[in-house]
Symmetry: C2
Subunit: 451 residues, 2 copies
Amino acid sequence: MGERLVVIGGTAAGLSAASKAKRLKPDMDITVYERSGYVSYGACGLPYYVGGMIEEADDLVSLDVNTLTNKRGIPTFIHHEVTKIDRQAKTVAVRDLDTGKEFEQGYDKLVIATGATPIVPEIPGARAEGVHCLRTVEDGIALKSRVAQGASKAVIIGGGFIGLETAEELTQAGMKVTVVEAMPRLLPFLTEEYAAAIQNELEKHGVEVCLNATAAEILCQDQRAAGVKTSDGRCFEADMVLFSIGVRPASQLAAACGLELGLKDAIVVDEHQRTSDDSIYACGDCVQMKHLVTGEACYVPLGTTANKQGRIAGENIGGGNGTFKGVLGSQVTKIFDLYAASTGLTEQQAVRAGYDAVSSSITKGDRASYYPGGGQNQLTLILDRKSGKLLGAQGIGTETIAGRMNVLATAITAGMTVMEVNELDLVYSPSVAPVYDPILIAASQALKHVK
Amino acid sequence: MGERLVVIGGTAAGLSAASKAKRLKPDMDITVYERSGYVSYGACGLPYYVGGMIEEADDLVSLDVNTLTNKRGIPTFIHHEVTKIDRQAKTVAVRDLDTGKEFEQGYDKLVIATGATPIVPEIPGARAEGVHCLRTVEDGIALKSRVAQGASKAVIIGGGFIGLETAEELTQAGMKVTVVEAMPRLLPFLTEEYAAAIQNELEKHGVEVCLNATAAEILCQDQRAAGVKTSDGRCFEADMVLFSIGVRPASQLAAACGLELGLKDAIVVDEHQRTSDDSIYACGDCVQMKHLVTGEACYVPLGTTANKQGRIAGENIGGGNGTFKGVLGSQVTKIFDLYAASTGLTEQQAVRAGYDAVSSSITKGDRASYYPGGGQNQLTLILDRKSGKLLGAQGIGTETIAGRMNVLATAITAGMTVMEVNELDLVYSPSVAPVYDPILIAASQALKHVK
């Protein structure tokens, strides 16, 4: 029998780890346990499944249990919950959620890829029928069946990007949607101006946005959600309520067996994705990571990171020497016709991290002015006044903002100054850019702030 | 009277230099002479004007003589040709092409921004009516009026990107178009596979592509072009012929006054854009530049570079200390529904430059597989096997290839290896990218070649 690897969690991080380890050590005896009924699904696609753009839940799944178990040689079990890790004995306790049967399984190496859990506040009615989160495929199916049953009014608590993408999708499915956000603005990773533009885009499409308010109570009729009462005393009718106020690391198993926890109780790992126990790796939304700009610990749960960290964990378990250097928190979202993206630090974060930070904004067409079509890109660069170093960027506009944000993410990773960004030799054709790309305009504007 | 600056050439490079110098030294006495009838036009937009997508020639012009002269304080003269530079006397001889009047003008500093001249081979009929180039607005007007007069068949000699963009535009204007290319393939800055895909895209839209052939003779009727006879003996009917086989630096003035010339007789400049004469700067398509990867001299005439070099020349004339580091030759074009882009070295160029070069290619969707719409991106990375250093990249696919090529251009500029590119934290949302962006897939494939 080969070395035994047990992987807890069968989505991005866990399966990346399992697959990479198997490729490097084909003899390894790998078992994956997944609590939900689905493995290898793209959770970021759930809003589009709920809204109907994606028809079948299976479309979100890239690998099924059968393929993993029988073709890839990675026995994978759904509806199996790991309930305990015994580090001394090197065993995990597993419960088959379908049969209730419990059993123990030994490991030589263990991967914790338990992900994150949506936060649901303990307010009256929070557990009523018709109150949802959107994290698993089952969540998606439940939400979608609510739409199919004729739900016509939704209240979404939390104006982060999952909440807003779902607001878009439910609106396009014909529902009346209200978004309730505790902060005085949406999407805190954007500038206030860009967040206001997103809000405007939502309102233009009929979404009601209610800021500075939290959900105080889920109003129920016959034990079913019928509305939301907010902290400022307003009431919104709803036959469907969605909580999307964020997630917390699902680190209870790790905590119970005494692994070191960090920010928000995320599992602490080194750059090899190893926990404080040499035999245990952790990756994905349950771990703390390092920010590439500040070098400090952060918790930014994103699918891209989960996949990469899983691959690194698998590489090291498979005998390699991979390292995960950290994150910029690069992200993008599309809300109706407006795309918003960010990378690196916000101005606030940069000031907090001790930089002499300033932000500089521009608006520029994304094609030659004389070329038909296209639209605007708005870009904000955050830089250090002393060194000119680029620390972060935010943008809204057409789909092309995504590629431009990636250029800036690359520049930040390389430690470039805005002077260096200003000199980049970028592609040009009237059909895809102005002769001075918005990135260059942004850099040329930003470098005026450098002391 | 302030210091006198004379600028020869009133498009991208020349006007960038004049404008920057004026901003830095408002007292400077600046005069711009432009031989053609237009200043400050986007030559890259000419194909779209000819084809009708852009209606008026003036739409291509961002600043007119009146604005420059009266609002910006930069007296600008069109139809004025500088015929001689006297470096001893520090004067230029100028001819007013409308009146024939000649005069001398003294300078303290001189900018040569004379651009490049389309190459027209000395074959029978090359000067006949109906034979065109596409470089100036006048060229565009002549070509467009030919279309308006009912020309229905065009032969385009040269399958570079200006030729192919014009082929697209003339086809969309209803003409039957044949492209004649001397090489066994189109667009040498792309891989053969990508060039073949572009050829297929052209043929799909009815453009005839004739490879391995040059124009041997322009066949004429009544002194008007009526067809093209190719080197392989074929004849193509045409009531319009376009030469787009490349340009050469318009460096005759510089040569005549003894300035140092380099590759293809392009003017040699230092990184301050200064020529071998301290008082004379040169910038744009008439100068030699440095390649950022090889550090060697190259000649890559592009509008983006012309603008940047002009700005640097202006900055230094204005008392600053700007440097132009060099180019990657980043470029992009759209041919019907296919976008093609490249940056840095091709595999061939990399081998020639002494690298242990290899290229590595991938094809990947540009959105999450389950998200509707989108299309493919094909990416080829050229890297050094020994160090893993990224040396160049080419790609075809949807419009998003442009942003991805810019990421790679940024990575090359920063000296990144494909291992480092593989770790980039890029934005992700199902609507704009797969969770592993095509860039990351390409890098992860490429790093397998690193020794």
